[in-house]
Amino acid sequence: MSEAMDFRVIGTRPVRPDGVDKVTGRASFGADFSLPGMLEGAVLRSPHAHARIKRIDVTAALGAPGVKAIVTAEDFPSVAAGAIEGGEGGGDFADLAGNVIARGKVRYHGHAVAAVAAQTRAQALAAAALIEVEYESLPPVLSLDAALADNAPLIDEALKTKGLAEPATTASNLASVIEMGGGDLAAGFAEADLVVERRYQTPTVHQGYIEPHACVGRWVQDDQAMLWCSTQGAFDVRSMTAKVLGQPVGALKVIPSEIGGGFGGKTTIYLEPLSLILSKKSGRPVRMVMSREEVFRATGPASAARLDLRMGFAKDGRITAAEVTMAYEAGAFPGSPVGPGTMCVFAPYRIANFRIKGLDVLVNKPKAAAYRAPGAPQALFATESALDEAAEKLGLDPIELRLRNAVEEGDAAIYGPKFGPIGMRACLEAAAKHPHYLRPKEAGVGRGVAVGFWFNVGLQSSAEVHINEDGTVTVIEGNPDIGGSRASMALMAAETLGVPYESVRVVVADTETAGFSNVTGGSRVTFATGMAVVEASKDIIAQCCSRAAALWSTDQEMVEWRDGAVHPRPGVNVDAQPLSLKDLAGQAGRMGGPLLGKASLNAKGAGPGFSVNLCDALVDKETGRVEVKAFTAIQDAGKAIHPSYVEGQLQGGAAQGIGWALNEEYVYSADGVMENAGFLDYRVPVASDLPMIETQIIEVPNPGHPYGVRGVGETPIVAPLAAVANAVSASAGVRLTELPLSPPRVLAGLDQA
């Protein structure tokens, strides 16, 4: 794409197409759907963190009032191991099935053991309590140290470590080891004038979407099934659910509801297979809705992590060597995001001599799910804290230190391939000039700087563009709209077709109506689905050109598309008025039929996203309480299609990152029960905790997208952890390396200072 593109509607800030429905309460979310004769479901969950299931007796429960069906693992086919496709990485179908309903063993407190369908939710809950389960409890494994200890109790007796030089012969809780390296580590450290060496730790946190998981399943006698659910990806739900149920994909129709937040946590399945099998057994549709407590206990958390990091610096701030061992908790099944973590940990910098080791470790906690830039926040919390400490000790400005090591276009990333055009340097330069960075700090306030990074992904997307007979446009796509993506799609279609934004309607359709699309996640929708919308719009343009050429009895090369209409090319001698989309749509029936454009693709070229965050924080040295006084998020968006929603991603990611840094954490009892499974005790940031979050969008166009777009959804959560921790450390006068920086931990740090 050319650098200086003039846009007509891209970059403007229109009201989103689904906006009115969402501000008036009309939009239908997961729990807002019902069918005639619908039953309500409830799940019986494990009271143990680790136990063998000896016996399940449902007799009493089946006789309880209103009960129509009960399912346990016996009602599900056994699922063979096999990698889950769809770019979520590191998942296995057998584990997925085992997480949906426990088979033989429960692996965490809250693991689903049985499910009940009854006429009312109260009846279903009462009946679930009557199911008798005999457990043989096992010692729970609740920390990395406990999991990796010799003779640790095994969470999966068949699990052998992957990635070892010599194949593992015995089972362990270490699911896999990943290593990367380059250069000469010893020489690099020998060259260093300063070595920073520390252990950094981050807690288990939850995505915290406000809408709990919910679905309605209906199974009909001919084995055709329908599922309405709140998900980031209807097609992924379809393939995962079909696999867990041993059904053909085509037998299952998934209708995505509006989705009340996901952040990665709604890219997998929990209730969906349960509701369908309950429906099959009862012959009635079954709705299942999680309570908030269930959401905390049984879904999504992001991995707790521990990073042992050592970095060497020359006097001028150049990084001479870097070494890290990063252990991530996978939860009860393999598949923490330590892989991407190893690739992110040093990605923003040129480092010739490095060694990275990543460990994926099982513990008796819910299976970790994706959470915005999975694996990256934990990783860069460590690196960016170490850089801050180095800047302080070397007497360098922290932005200058980063500029001296920053990767640029043409550099090979530490994980191998070369970077194309990237915004790392532009973000740092913008930060150095930002009014926030230049203004004097208030007394006692610490100022933190940190860099964020995420690869961004492409994956598969489809789109159809229909031109209605009056020239209005309907776009059909399959990616649930979590944060205004309908508006971005409409803007890209309007831009390409040369029509007003208001004439484009975007429909997020079900799996039988839209073409296949992978999840709304990985910061891919505006990029990849947007690319499909642009291509489908170009398909329309090509059809319009060919029809106009035929009408004018000329060749297609003699006509061109300009300002929403087909024109004869300059100099072409045709006596004709331009034909607009509306003109051609009105006559479509006489010219070969309706105008329908299509595209399906597997998008390549998702450009990486870099960010820089600035944070001012004040520590109350009496109470240990931290106040965030100011926060600025600067990020490269490639091209902001709808700047308000890009800013919104930056602000929302900042707030989640601030929560991760300051307050959020799963607190466990010694027997593996989460003690704060509610919003009262698991404290996400509220409006009065935060300042306004300033944003600055940098635009280094991504050559891989027709309008230069890079994904923006993931990167915003990466930098805040270290930006906040660096600010808090500066205000407290002591380096704090274990999150969250809650008042007791800050006070403990102050005591040691």
Binding site: R13, T24, G25, A27, E258, G261, I482
Partner: protein, 159 residues
């Protein structure tokens, strides 16, 4: 034994039967089909279920349905008129004060209540008043701005 309840919802007389332990939120959503109020927690911690009962702001998940006998309940469904959205709704749309939108009904109800009590709140006052309404998507920035802009518009100042 079911309870028979007569009440007013958004100005209309309504009667329903419910279990004595049913919450107002359950009845609104499942019995009356008013699903604009959302359940984010069921424990009074998220504000997604915000309604007004006799003009007082409340979490409908914490109120038992029989308690609203003879009272006036206002929900998100009653905020906009058929002709126009409420200024808060308009400003949320204009400033992109919603992403997923699941917190939005509760925010609209709570913010409307605030501006009826205090037509000229400071940023801080809005932040503290909305502290019971969780939003995980926006970082609150654009919500707070929308409420301040709506307040200015309602006071007749150019927003």
């Amino acid at each position: 034994m079911k309870c028979h309840v007569q009440t007013q919802v958004n100005g209309e007389a309504v009667e329903f039967l419910c279990d004595p332990t049913a919450t107002l939120l359950e009845v609104l959503r499942d019995t009356l089909g008013l699903r604009g109020s959302k359940e984010g927690c069921g424990t009074g911690d998220c504000g997604a279920c915000s309604v007004e009962v006799d003009g007082a702001l409340a979490c409908s998940c914490l109120i038992l349905a029989p308690e609203v006998e003879g009272r006036q309940v206002s929900t998100i469904e009653g905020v906009a008129s058929p002709e126009a959205l409420h200024p808060i709704q308009n400003h949320l749309l204009k400033s992109a004060g919603l992403q997923c939108g699941v917190c939005t009904p509760g925010i609209v109800v709570a913010a409307k209540h605030l501006l009826e009590q205090n037509p000229n709140p400071s940023e801080e006052a809005v932040r503290y008043f909305l502290a019971g309404n969780l939003c995980r998507c926006t970082g609150y920035d654009k919500i707070i701005r929308a409420v301040l802009d709506a307040a200015a518009e309602m006071r007749g100042e150019a927003a």
